[in-house]
């Protein structure tokens, strides 16, 4: 559902793929705390993806640990971004959803020490930061079961979602080839 919505939003966008023969730059960013059980799932996904994307000079694969302003700052200079992170919505653990960062659901990204990503993006744009256009930041969110216990292994259902989420990212990337 989210995917469809997003695809529709991109119809008619002429800049996908190349500009003047130069490949646009895409950031694939895993987010999470590597020590907080399922919170690390985004990091596991990008670790799995890194070898598969080694031959894509237009794609940077990285890990990061922050939301809000700092996440926005990380996106500066890229044309597209795919952010992979854990989420808690009450859905069944391991289920995956994809949505644009500007979409309503992502407004709940929060911290008392920061602002939500959509607000951070708006703030960055006011400040003149060169950010991916609205609709060009996608979030691949994997439902976590436990994000409050210290541990380096995901719970089984969430670990099982890692290959599927990685496939999802590869499939999203084909549109920006």
């Amino acid at each position: 559902m989210w995917l469809e919505t997003h695809t529709d939003a991109n119809v008619g966008c002429p800049a996908l793929g190349t500009v003047g023969g130069q490949h646009l730059r895409t950031l694939v960013l895993g987010l999470g705390n590597p020590l907080l059980t399922d919170d690390a799932v985004g990091l596991h996904v990008v670790q799995r993806l890194a070898p598969a994307l080694a031959d894509r000079p237009d794609v940077e694969v990285a890990e990061d640990y922050w939301g809000g302003l700092r996440l926005m700052e990380r996106l500066v200079g890229f044309d597209h971004a795919i952010i992979v992170d854990a989420q808690r919505t009450g859905a069944s653990p391991g289920s995956i959803s994809v949505f644009a960062a500007d979409a309503g659901a992502a407004r709940h990204v929060h911290s008392s020490h920061d602002v939500g990503l959509p607000m951070a993006l708006e703030f960055g744009r006011h400040a003149g930061a060169r950010l991916p256009a609205p609709g060009h930041i996608l979030i691949v969110a994997i439902e976590g079961a436990d994000v409050e216990t210290f541990g380096t292994q995901c719970t089984p259902a969430v670990a099982a979602a890692v290959p599927r989420a990685a496939e999802q990212v590869l499939s999203l990337l084909t549109r920006w080839r």
Binding site: L36, E73, R88, H108, S112, G144, E148
Partner: protein, 488 residues
Amino acid sequence: MTTQRISIDPITRLEGHGKIDIFLTPKGDVAEAYLQVPELRGFERFCVGRLAEDMPNLTARICGVCPEAHHIASAKALDALFHVDPPPTAKKLREMFYCIFFATDHTTHFYALGGPDFILGPDAPPEQRNILGVIQKVGMDIAGRVLKMRRDGHNLIEMIGGRKVHPNWALPGGVSRGINEEQRKEIEALGRDAIEFAQFSLNLFHEQVLGNRAYLQLITSEAYTHRTYNMGTVDGNNHVNFYDGLIRVVGPDGREHAKYPARDYREYVAEHVEPWSYLKFPFLKKIGWKGFVDGEDSGLYKATPLSRLNAADGMATPLAQKEYERMYDALGGKPVHHTLATHWARLIELLYATERWVELATDPEITGTEYRVLPTATPDEGVGCVEAPRGTLTHHYWSDERGVMTRVNLIVGTTNNYAPINLSIKEAARALIRRGTAVSEGLLNRIEMAFRAYDPCLGCATHYLPGQMPLTVVLRAPDGRVLKTIGR
């Protein structure tokens, strides 16, 4: 009996999912208010069996907000554990790195979190009361300045600490690498920009807040005033220091209650347990736990930017010292017990951090090449302490003779303030909720302001995507029955 649920969406600036329970008297006044926070389970156990030298990197991962504070406190605990004293260059590098972090962190709090209440006003609608509202009101160019300050801070932290987010740099006995002259020049130049930015921020506060009588009344109102003890780290002149010194505690009247090296913390601080919360409540051992009350006979203490200023005799740098005097003059002398003045104190600390950053960047020893002493003694036990932006941070480690961790105890910044935060919420709720009061969004924000001043860090996984509102206020009858739930 009907339970009404009001959903206030989507703004929040509270870390983690907090829940406030407000208990009412039979007449409908506030009896008690409690802030419950989720426990992040098992970190101390997770560390047992690991190598001591991994601790600065592991503990930096506890928190996505102040990894630098944990990293440096941990390295200091390892200095003690391995009985090694880092060379002067290493100590200065650590402190400079730490001041850069502090300046960056305080900037974010003021502009994104604390500032909106003042610049937009506590009763502004929540969709305006945020960082975007700030730039719309005060000017778009502020956005660029805030981002530059953050970018410079993060870049220098990476340059010095090796990584952008979680540094892997401080080690028992010093640091893993020093800086060269070219790097030093850049650190100094950006530090001078940072001093200007801090002055600009204080001027903004003076214009927007102090120029407004209503805000001054709000800051000094009884609802936001608690006369507790105050804790902070001081140098040899009793001036504020973030990196090292003695812990000083002053009483509600400002007189010194205790001054001690961090390693003796257990002689001065004990922890109280309540059945309704996972978090413990530290209090001053010699005074004792008397419940959620202030005053000289209650062992509650605060460890906040304002507490550090209250616990010290002044600031070690000239511009910050002027601002320090200005604040105490304006608020009627020391100590200041107005919770909302913490925002002002935070900006004074921002200025101090930037001045100290430049002071250290121009120190002849800062580019020295002796930045590590190799530990040779057998490790056993060590305490390391720094002032984190949110309060005094203590790491206490025990290891076997191979340096394998056997026990870990941490008192993080916010934990010090957990009891005062509850007290602040209770007092704000008492002043604002009286019999017949309709609880509105504006009222809720005024209660939230009472704990936002502490910049609380209640959970540490800050960035996963929650699907539910993280803060809930529950109004309860004396028998615990839910009268009303306000979620946001």
